[in-house]
Subunit: 267 residues, 2 copies
Amino acid sequence: MLTPTQPRPITPSSGSTEHTTVSPPTRGTRQSPPPRAATRTAARCSSCSMRLLCMPQGLSADELSKLETLICSARSVQRGEALYRSGDRFDSIYAVRSGSMKTVMIHRDGREQVTGLRLAGEALGLDGISADVHACSAVALEDSTVCIIPYSPLKLLCREISSMQDRMHKLLGAQIVSEAAQMMVLGSLSADERVAAFLLDVSQRNAQRGYSWSEFNLRMTREDMGSYLGMTLETVSRTLSRFQKRGLIDTQGKHIRIVDLEGLRQV
Amino acid sequence: MLTPTQPRPITPSSGSTEHTTVSPPTRGTRQSPPPRAATRTAARCSSCSMRLLCMPQGLSADELSKLETLICSARSVQRGEALYRSGDRFDSIYAVRSGSMKTVMIHRDGREQVTGLRLAGEALGLDGISADVHACSAVALEDSTVCIIPYSPLKLLCREISSMQDRMHKLLGAQIVSEAAQMMVLGSLSADERVAAFLLDVSQRNAQRGYSWSEFNLRMTREDMGSYLGMTLETVSRTLSRFQKRGLIDTQGKHIRIVDLEGLRQV
DNA sequence: CGCACGCTTGAGTGTCCTCAATTCGAGTGG
DNA sequence: CCACTCGAATTGAGGACACTCAAGCGTGCG
């Protein structure tokens, strides 16, 4: 496969706030000198992490209060800013509260691969568990906020409450499965099929979270999509145009409307 | 990129014991009617799962004995036979004790993608945790034996012993990272680079387990390698031949010797 | 308003796929 | 023991799909 954790050429946590090579910093993006960690009320935050961690199982009132003892602060991340970088020490996982983020892995020669897209409500940061150091970088695709769930207290909680343990395992397991699915996309599908699969995936995840399956804003650039799907931005653009001519979708820029769901499913 | 394999009608779990299309059953492979679960002594098995689950941390004698209460049987799997299939109910994870296995994911149109290679000592079956049902199939590349670690008792143990919990999390996290790395291989590297990365990965994993980094038998067929690397078997074969002419490796069939490690690293 | 960035579209090229023939090797049966 | 058979691997020739390079357009932001 590859030497998994390559010598990181990416300045892991240089004093400067520049997010250098992770994503070419948008000129318009204001370079907020201190990546300000805006702390919010614990109440809102634990409700955020609860959705992430406890959704399926019901918890007793007692257990709920224990959950709320998780020091669960929030942080806002500006568009283009990195929540964490490959090589950063791992100590928390995150739940996207608003906005969206991408995860990026960097090859030693500088090529970068988008390895994931995280929408509001989804988990982030699990790539740090195995080595106590993050393997990917997480970059905001738009101004976003995340919930910070410190890992050590979370582990304790998982030992106390079995449904939390279950939830944690399923969270990790779900990422394993979705990455395997993406390997299938990259390894076996044609360009058209990849784009269709991606649109259907985002549509389905939107639906799951109570938003429209048929209409959404994809904050990634064509280049990000291309990187995620293993193709060039030009091919992504051409494919979307062709889909539009075929009456499958309706796009203008980052806004996408799915017109013919069944058609998309049939490649 | 490609539309590689022909429509493969795979029967996920037909009543028959045939391992039909997962990997065309070698004629010679005897069709053992009951996929026999050869149970071994618990002692050998827990030592097997211990390597997998406890390697980094030391455990107290007391904790060790608890670990051994894990009902940990073994099973042998013939070449071409499936240890589990996509859709099977999940109730155990496995540790490869001897031999090697591949994990395979099947697209609805029948195309199949090799999503992983597991050598002796490595973990298997984590793809079932998220949905209580396996997302991949696991097929033996040669006659192999695996250690069966029932999941429910394992969960209990993780709640009792924090180092087991750590180990479990790291096992899951490591698969997340290695799959992300494979996404980078599939999404960003050329054919030559993919093959080189794969050889280096296997070499490194062999070294890690105390075997030779420079010489090994890859039990996958060229087709399996191609599927795993997102290319055709012909391209794999051509690439290996070219590497040999360049003096990077020495191959005959499935036996591979790495001649110029540094050269391989430089693509 | 103007610049810069992102997106679209076109033309030409190259990498890798497809199809096909042959060789090699292992397991089987005569 | 050797010929036979079948699958796996190698190698070649030709073609297709996606990439590269390049120009033009839209738009959001300073």
